[in-house]
């Protein structure tokens, strides 16, 4: 099966290290805000031929991490964000060749901490809901 092309303007995020090796995850914007896309391939699966729970949490951590970093940099271009806690709920399974849409929004940001919630979905079917608490630090 040939995957459909990604929308115009979408580019790969976290191209190096874990993000590049685990993904690829594409990032862009639509009329609802920041949107992240990943097509489920063989290397993302578990032993039951479904999306591996670790890969699902990895994608969620990339989506929430990108939104956290972008939000912090609006106030301070040198700010860095780090996860303190992530909570991921597995709502339904992902299947090979499905395209996952990931979104996250900031619930509240203080000077040093950010609260984020995120969702992964395939069309109307939710795969995962998650919340994250991130630390905001000045660059070292």
């Amino acid at each position: 099966m040939t995957a459909s092309p990604f929308p115009a303007g979408f580019t790969q995020v976290q191209t190096e290290g874990f993000g590049g090796f685990a993904g690829p995850v594409m990032g862009g914007t639509d009329d609802k805000g920041p949107l992240f896309l990943m097509d489920i391939a063989y290397q993302h699966l578990n032993g039951a031929d479904r999306l591996h729970g670790g890969m699902m949490m990895s994608l969620m951590s990339i989506v929430m991490g990108e939104v956290a970093a972008a939000t912090a940099k609006v106030k301070d271009a040198s700010a860095v964000t780090r996860p303190l806690s992530l909570n991921c709920d597995f709502v339904s399974a992902g299947e090979t060749d499905e395209r996952i849409e990931g979104r996250a929004e900031v619930t509240r940001a203080t000077r040093s901490v950010m609260f984020i919630s995120g969702t992964l979905a395939v069309g109307p079917r939710v795969l995962m809901t998650a919340t994250g608490v991130y630390a905001i630090k000045a660059a070292e």
């Binding site: 290290g17 874990f18 685990a22 699966l45 578990n46 729970g53 949490m57 780090r82 909570n87 991921c88």
Partner: protein
């Protein structure tokens, strides 16, 4: 039933090969991996002690890192999913279990070359749900804690 009496349903199937050949830490052996994503990120290691308790480990390389050189939270949670899931499965007597929820707290950074160890504990089990926690350490220092809920398939 002890943990070692449980035979994995995938036992006997040819294990998947990892893209990287890594020497296990002293006292550990490579695990047979049957999940493509775990093989993609592996190898993963296991140590079974005389009392039957287990320690799990992986060695962080450049496939596991964030842009700043520390181990990515996604890799840490992948490692957690693999081994807390194994603990749920052994605790349930070998019934298939799927993740319902997993929470991780990130206490400190792990770096490239670190041996990250995981020790799991079944906190409670009902017929249909397993509660599993774990601590993760590098050289004995805590780097992450995790708690999780697993659904035992076919039970309610």
């Amino acid at each position: 039933m002890t943990e070692s009496d449980v035979t994995h349903p995938l036992h006997g199937r040819t294990p998947l090969t990892c893209p990287r050949d890594v020497t296990p830490p002293a006292g550990f052996v490579s695990q047979e991996l049957h999940d493509p994503f775990e093989a993609h990120m592996g190898p993963l290691f296991e140590q079974i002690n005389a009392d039957g308790s287990r320690v799990f480990a992986f060695i962080a390389d450049e496939r596991h890192l964030r842009a700043d050189g520390s181990v990515h939270e996604g890799m840490m949670m992948t490692f957690a999913d693999a081994f807390l899931g194994g603990a749920a499965w052994r605790g349930s007597g070998g019934k298939p279990c799927v993740t319902m929820s997993l929470q991780a707290s990130f206490l400190a950074d792990a770096k490239q070359g670190d041996v990250i160890e995981c020790r799991t504990k079944v906190e409670k089990q009902t017929r249909s749900v397993m509660f599993v926690s774990a601590s993760f350490t590098v050289k004995g220092e805590p780097v992450m804690t995790a708690t999780s809920l697993w659904k035992v398939l076919g039970e309610r």
